[in-house]
């Protein structure tokens, strides 16, 4: 412990910090007890609320009225490729108007499924072929084809857009360190912590209730990983490769495009994979502003409490997510193989056998669709529906276990949720600002303290204190339980290879599922309310706790473990005194991620009737009240940033101590 103290020489040593914290806590307690005489310090006075929301609304309406030529032309330009993709995959082309319109068919589902098999085979062999093709076939046979293809069309237009934008932004940030520090990094932080819902409001306002605004929201949400991957990839290219390109006499442009970017391909492809998965996630959520597709089906079914239909559409999302993830990962890992002999002047067919075959299949099946209706649309006769089955299952569970579930739910609310909630909502805002600032000062210094205090004050000043604390309470409790479950699982996975083999595919799958999917089964059992939100959030946020803990323990250098064994440690001592302390920074990073993911999920849980900032955004969305939505969105982002920075500083400190 004295080591900590010597590390932070300029600031008071640990013992003095204990005293400082005791005094601070006592002061806050006094504040709480004195709330009769100091009411403004506990509940932020309504009269002093800064009308940021109104300002934002005014700004947005100014943009709307003065820049409509811009937004309209953007809508028109982006609408062209989007409509094409929608027609091609889902809606059929209509040439002409009215009754004499001639319809060109969309791509045949048989063809698309065949191409899915082929693509899987081309990049990953038979196993991947079966998985990807099977997922698409599943979607077709379970009657979700048109919706799924709507979703696919949006993704297929948004993803290239994100990749190109992200690549150029990343290159710019890499070339100009000032741009990275002052513009790109802060923007990325904000883009990734503002909840997905909050994106939708300004889009709705600027671009109208159309698939285009859904696509733009998706593009904004899904671009950051590409920017980061580009920056990371370029910095990670070995120095010598850059020097080689200089010595070969490359111009700056040749160096970037012919040497550095191709050398960074593996990292860039990781970015592409993340872009695809985030785009899918966002397209599902954007169904609220008429993106259509699978998300819309889920939304409709949830609103009508049609559990079976929601589950079916949800499973189709899962199938699509798994297919896209595994396919793009396989592409990322695929490496060209050398060969000894070179074919003499290969034709296009020989050079790209899979591509030509795919185009041929699509053309033939689509043409067949003109004559054989079974090729054009999935025939009703061969589709299944499992909706009644799901409904029956839920009914059976409710009938037989209603009492048990209800008792669990009520007990949870009465004994855990409500007391914590009361504590959080009654917490004096001034005290929170003070304590968080103090934590920031201890962990990093004056700058972090100022940042944390300012962001917290913003939440209070805009009159959202109570809702902020409601979010903190639900997020905190969910993240806490997620860590309570995740860290032990991670520890077990780290100690047993067999257990890890079981856990890894499960968390891999959990991670690719769009957040929407977690709500569906929980709602079926627990109906709407805080308990549902909490359980869905735990399921969503548990992944990083498991993953980072496992990784943290496993990355402890084997030499250190051998050293511990040689000095006579029992396995238990090795674990507790060597592995665990060394893995601590990594585990804390996992906890940090868990908190951020819990925050993102809690907001989406507004759909199941929580009463926090998410609900605020949700209401603003339905009223198209941009100011209210954006301010609430910022408040959510600030909670995330405060948690992230404090944890980040703590982790950095722990890392520094380990050297």
């Amino acid at each position: 412990m004295t080591v900590t103290a010597s590390a932070s020489e300029a600031r008071p040593p640990l013992q003095r910090w204990l005293v400082v914290w005791a005094v601070a806590l006592a002061a806050v307690l006094a504040l709480f007890l004195l709330q009769e005489s100091l009411p403004w310090a506990v509940n932020y006075p309504a009269s002093a609320v800064v009308p940021v929301a109104d300002w934002v609304s005014a700004l947005m309406s100014w943009i709307k009225s003065n820049l409509s030529w811009l937004t309209r032309s953007i809508t028109a330009v982006l609408g062209v490729p989007l409509d094409f993709a929608l027609d091609l995959l889902a809606k059929n082309f209509k040439v002409g108007h009215g009754a004499d319109a001639y319809v060109l068919p969309r791509l045949s589902w048989v063809g698309v499924c065949a191409v899915a098999f082929l693509a899987g085979h081309a990049v990953g062999g038979r196993k991947l072929s079966l998985l990807v093709g099977g997922c698409f076939l599943y979607i077709a046979l379970f009657g979700q084809w048109t919706s799924a293809m709507l979703t696919m069309a949006l993704i297929s237009i948004a993803v290239p857009f994100c990749i190109v934008t992200g690549l150029f932004a990343g290159i710019w940030a890499w070339r100009k360190p000032w741009a990275e520090r002052l513009i790109v990094s802060p923007a990325l932080d904000l883009m990734q912590t503002i909840p997905t819902f909050a994106y939708l409001i300004p889009m709705l306002l600027l671009f109208g209730n159309s698939p285009v605004s859904a696509m733009i929201a998706t593009a904004i949400f899904a671009t950051p990983p590409m920017v980061r991957a580009t920056m990371l990839g370029l910095t990670r290219v070995p120095l010598e490769i850059g020097e080689f390109s200089d010595m070969a006499g490359c111009t700056a442009r040749q160096k970037l495009w012919r040497v550095l970017l191709p050398s960074a391909r593996p990292t860039l492809m990781v970015g592409v994979n993340q872009v695809i998965m985030l785009a899918l996630n966002m397209v599902i959520i954007a169904s609220m502003i008429s993106a259509g597709g699978l998300g819309y089906d889920v939304l409709l079914a949830l609103r009508a409490l049609k559990v079976g239909e929601a589950m079916e559409a949800g499973l189709a999302i899962v199938a699509l997510a798994i297919a896209l993830d595994r396919l793009s990962q396989a592409i990322a890992h695929k490496q060209a193989k050398g060969h000894v002999l070179q074919a003499a002047s290969p034709s296009i067919w020989q050079r790209y056998p899979n591509l030509t075959l795919a185009i041929a299949i699509l053309a033939v099946t689509t043409l067949l669709g003109l004559f054989v209706p079974a090729f054009a649309a999935v025939p009703k006769a061969i589709t299944f529906t499992t909706a009644p089955l799901w409904k029956a299952a839920v009914n059976w569970v409710t009938i037989n276990f209603f009492d048990a579930i209800e008792a669990f739910r009520v007990a949870l609310i009465l004994n855990v949720l409500n007391p914590v909630r009361a504590f959080c909502e009654g917490f004096p805002w001034l005290g929170a600002v003070f304590l968080l600032g103090l934590a920031g000062y201890q962990l990093s210094g004056l700058r972090l303290a100022a940042l944390v205090a300012a962001l917290t004050t913003f939440c209070a000043m805009t009159g959202l204190w109570e809702k902020t604390m409601a979010t903190v309470y639900l997020c905190g409790i969910s993240a806490f339980i997620a860590c309570l479950i995740g860290i032990p699982i991670g520890l077990m996975a780290a100690r047993s290879d067999r257990f890890e083999k079981i856990v890894t595919p499960v968390i891999d799958t959990l991670q690719v599922l769009p957040s929407f999917c977690f709500i569906i089964p929980v709602v079926m059992l627990f109906r709407v309310g805080d308990v549902t939100a909490m359980i869905a959030t735990i399921a969503f946020a548990v992944v990083p706790a498991i993953r980072y803990t496992n990784h943290g323990i496993r990355q402890v250098p084997p030499a250190l473990i051998e050293a511990a064994k040689v000095s006579g440690c029992t396995p238990r001592q090795t674990f507790v005194r060597v592995q665990l302390p060394l893995a601590l920074p990594e585990i804390m990073l996992g906890v940090n991620q868990t908190i951020l993911m819990a925050l993102a999920m809690i907001i989406i849980c507004a759909m199941v009737g929580t009463r926090d900032l998410g609900q605020e955004v949700f209401i603003a969305l339905s009223k198209a009240d941009s100011g209210r939505g954006i301010v609430a969105g910022l408040a959510i982002a600030f909670i995330g940033i405060v948690a992230d920075r404090l944890f980040g500083a703590w982790t950095a400190k722990a890392r520094a101590r380990l050297g």
Partner: protein, 359 residues
């Protein structure tokens, strides 16, 4: 006793060759305002000055001349500044002060376009960790510098196949770097740097990442290539044995300074400092020292044979010891210029310091 440069001139005429590349008081300092620091002091500063100013002196006051067609080795331990120095020579690193002259022209003053042109056609470099492009196969990697220049596919691939043949990689044209062994990868690196037919060839610790056996094989390969190509080679290494094996001349660096330049023999016979002596201590002297260094004036004794002045002791040690008589050292015209006694050879082989052996 004898000055290094005089000894050099005595040797088969390196000096008659033109200077290809020269460093004139080259400095590279890292830290704030490094360039102005050294400019204000007119290119003179001691180690203490540099440290006092909070700077790190990676390369300090380096003067050297590399002559056409020689293998010039810069040898030093890690952190001695040898890699920075070679990067100053190719302007991968901008020196803080001084001149780098390529055929008498200051490299630091030429435009970016001229520099690109120079690097495209007249310089080649081989890297320690190969620096092969992972997305290109062997053929495309080797043809890459040519493709950068805008050569069409058939021309550049024909040239690439020539150098692939030269380094013995035929049949592997369509392999990717990750599918090759370390030695093969460095052959690709060598072939790639030769594809543009450079005049000056920088090799930055090219064999340090390889296993000892492969390293030896690659050293032989380099010597084979050099007898065919006659490049001007600047070779960086931290391995003194490698330097001795390959070098025409060696510059030894320590803390950013060149502390001695000379042929392997000069370094072994006349180390300038204890630091140099430390390196040369375990060298197999018989393979480095030539008859000239052991020669003494003829004292009329009968000679058991003749040797050239440049002949290494190891090449005739067995015969002179078995003959038991001094050998005459004869120059090109067959005139004796001195003699080597068997006792001197035995002393050398046994490692006995001999005061008279120096000259």
């Amino acid at each position: 006793m004898t000055d290094g440069t005089e000894q050099g001139s005595a040797q088969s005429g390196w000096d008659s060759r033109p200077v290809k590349l020269a460093c004139r008081n080259v400095w590279k300092l890292f830290g704030a305002n490094a360039a102005s620091f050294i400019r204000e002091r007119d290119g003179k500063a001691s180690m203490a000055d540099v440290t006092a100013a909070g700077l790190v002196g990676a390369v300090r006051a380096v003067d050297l001349e590399i002559r056409q067609g020689e293998i010039f080795i810069i040898m030093g331990l890690s952190g001695s500044g040898k890699s920075t120095l070679v990067r100053c020579m190719s302007r991968l690193v901008e020196p803080s002060h001084g001149k780098v002259e390529f055929e008498g022209k200051d490299l630091l003053k030429i435009s970016d376009a001229a520099l690109i042109e120079l690097r495209r056609h007249r310089m080649g470099m081989v890297f320690q960790n190969f620096a092969l492009l992972p997305h290109l196969n062997v053929l495309d990697n080797i043809a890459f510098p040519l493709s950068i220049q805008g050569q069409d596919r058939s021309t550049r691939e024909a040239r690439a196949r020539e150098v692939i043949e030269l380094v013995g990689l035929s049949g592997r044209e369509h392999f990717y770097p990750r599918e090759l062994s370390g030695g093969q990868q460095q052959r690709v690196g060598i072939a790639r740097s030769l594809a543009t037919k450079p005049e000056i060839w920088f090799l930055d610790e090219p064999f340090s990442a390889l296993d000892p056996l492969i390293r030896r094989e690659m050293q032989d390969e380099l010597m084979r290539l050099q007898t065919m190509l006659h490049k001007t080679i600047v070779f960086i290494t931290h391995d003194f044995d490698e330097a001795i094996r390959l070098a025409d001349r060696i510059a030894i660096m320590k803390d950013g300074e060149v502390i001695q330049i000379g042929t392997p023999e000069q370094l072994v016979v006349n180390p300038a400092t204890d630091y140099v002596a430390e390196f040369t201590r375990d060298v197999d002297r018989a393979k480095v020292i030539s008859a000239r260094s052991l020669m003494r004036a003829c004292n009329g004794a009968e000679h058991g044979g003749t040797v050239a002045p440049d002949a290494k002791i190891a090449s005739f040690s067995a015969s002179i010891v078995s003959a038991g008589k001094p050998f005459a050292v004869v120059n090109g015209t067959g005139k004796p210029i001195g003699e080597v006694s068997p006792q001197a050879v035995i002393d050398l082989l046994a490692g006995i310091e001999h005061t008279g052996a120096g000259a």
